[in-house]
Symmetry: C2
Subunit: 320 residues, 2 copies
Amino acid sequence: MDAREPTLADLGEGAVLERIFPRLPISNLALLGPGDDAAILKAEDGRFVVTTDLMVCGPDFRTQWSTPFDLGWKAAASNLADVAAMGAVPTALVVAVAVPPDTAVSVLEGLADGLDAACRSLAPGCGVVGGDLSASDTFTIAVTAFGDLEGRAPVLRSGARVGQAVAVSGVLGEAARALRLLFSEAVDEAGEPDREKASGLRDRTRAQLAPKPPIQDGALAAIAGATAMLDLSDGLAKDAARVAKASGVAINFHGSALGEDVRLALAGGEDHSLLATFNEGTILPGGFRKVGEVIAGSGIFLDGEPYSEDGWDPYRDWSG
Amino acid sequence: MDAREPTLADLGEGAVLERIFPRLPISNLALLGPGDDAAILKAEDGRFVVTTDLMVCGPDFRTQWSTPFDLGWKAAASNLADVAAMGAVPTALVVAVAVPPDTAVSVLEGLADGLDAACRSLAPGCGVVGGDLSASDTFTIAVTAFGDLEGRAPVLRSGARVGQAVAVSGVLGEAARALRLLFSEAVDEAGEPDREKASGLRDRTRAQLAPKPPIQDGALAAIAGATAMLDLSDGLAKDAARVAKASGVAINFHGSALGEDVRLALAGGEDHSLLATFNEGTILPGGFRKVGEVIAGSGIFLDGEPYSEDGWDPYRDWSG
C-alpha cells in the first residue's frame, strides 16, 4: 500500500463515507438511502427476502490475490445469489466493512466500485442503501441483501419430488479450480500469497475472485415453476444433499453432465451457481441444463452409485 | 476458556447452528426463518426500515469485560435503537458472527441468549430470522435490523425547526462513565483488561456492557409528532450537531437538564438514547424530557454559548 495515500485514520469516518457514497449503486426501491439512522425500502408485495454473509480476510480472501474491486464484486455477487435462489429479484444491499485504520481510502473506493459494477452487471436496479465502517485488525465485509418475490411463492429447498429433473445454471467447479491454481502458483517460495504472481493468473482465476453467478435465472426459474432451488456455495454434492434432506428424497447426478472433472464439479465450492428442480418436461429457463434427477431414498448418487458428499466448512477447513 | 468445552472447530458449522437456532428469538413477522438461502419477512405497509452495524473485538468490546450474553444483548440493543430512531417498531434481525475456530460453542450460545433477552425485553415480537457463521482471528458481530413504520412517515434528522423543543429519552453519559471505570479499574498492572476485576464492577458498568435504550419510545415519539430524531451513539453534542446540520438550524442545550456531569453528558458515546425534536407545547411521550431548544444558526450551544462538539471516531480514536 502506498504510504502517501490518505488512510482512514487520516480522514476519519465521516470524510471517508462522503467519498464512498457517490460511488455506490442506487437502488430503484430505496425510499431513503444512506445518511440517516436507517434506510427505507419499498416492499411492494408486502414481503421481502433477506440474507446475510460475512467475508473474512484469511479464510475467505487474501488481499494479495483479490483486488478491492474483486472483494466488492464478490461480496455483492455471493449475496445476490442467495436472494436469487429464493426465486426473488435482488433489490438492495447494506454493507458493513471493518478494516485496519492504516488502510488506504482507495481500498474502500475500489470496494465500492466493485459493489457498483456487480450490481449493475448482475442485478440492474439493485443498489446499496446503507452501511457501517469500523476499525479491525481483520479486514471483514458483512453484506445483507434484499429481494422482491414480485407476488410469487418463494422457491424453498424442500420442494423436490421424485421424478423431477435436477438442473444447474452457472459454472461447476470453476471457483475451486481457480483457488487451487492460486494456492499452487500464486505463492512465493515460503508458500505465502503473492500479489504479482496472482495478477499474472488473472484470466484463469476470475471464477474464484470475481464470480458471475446467473442472478437473473433465479426469478426465471421461479416463473418456470422450479420446485426447489439453492445457491451452490459449499459444493454441488454438499448443497444438493441439503435439498435432498429438506425434501425427503435422493438426488442422482449424471457424470456425463458435470464436465471433464466430475469430482471437482461435485466437491468444489463458491461457484454461486443455482441448483433447481423442475417437473420432468419443463422447458428449462435461462442458463439451466439438466444434470440429474430426483430419486427415492436419501443422499446423493452419481450415475446410480451412492456418492459421499464433500465440501467446505469454515471451521474445520480453516487454514489460519 | 475451558479447553474441555467443545469448540466450533470440533463441531463444525452445521452442528453449531443446530445448537444456536433454538435459542434465538422468533420474529412475529417472519414468513420463513433461518435454514434456507434467505429468510422472508412481512412488510405490511409495503416498506421496511433497515440498518446495519458492526461490533469488533478491540475497538468496540473486550472479551474480558463483556460476557457473550452482554455482546448479544448490546449487538441487538444498538441496532434496535437505530430502527427506533426512525419512528419504527423493530421486527427482526439478521446476525453474522465471525470467531476464532477454537472458540467454545458456549460463547455462541451465550451470544444467542443475549440476543434473545434483548429482543424480549426491549422489542417484544422482534426476532432473529437469519445469520452467518465464519472463522476469523478477530471476534466480529454484524447485525442488520429491520423495522415497521406501521403506515407512518419516518422521522428523519432533517425536520428540526427553530422554536421546537429538544428532548432526550434514556441515559446521558452513563455508557462513557462506565467505560472510563473499566479502563481505570478493570485492568491489571500492565493496563490489560482483567476479567475478574470487571466482574466486580458489574453493577456500575451495565450501561456500557448491556445498555437498555428506550426502544419503544421511538414509535411513541413518531406518534406524538416528533419532527426529527436520532440515536445517540457518538455523544449528545456530536449527534445533535448532525440533526442541526441536516435541518439547517442550531441546537441550544440547557446545562441544568444534562445531569451532574454536563461535559460527560455532551461528549459520552454509546448510550443509544433517543434525541428528538417536538413542536413547543407537545406533551412529551414515554421517557422523553426537555433538554434544550432549536434556535437559528448552526452548530451546538450550551446555555447560549457556542459549544465545540466532541465524540468518538472509530478510526481516529482506535486504541489498538
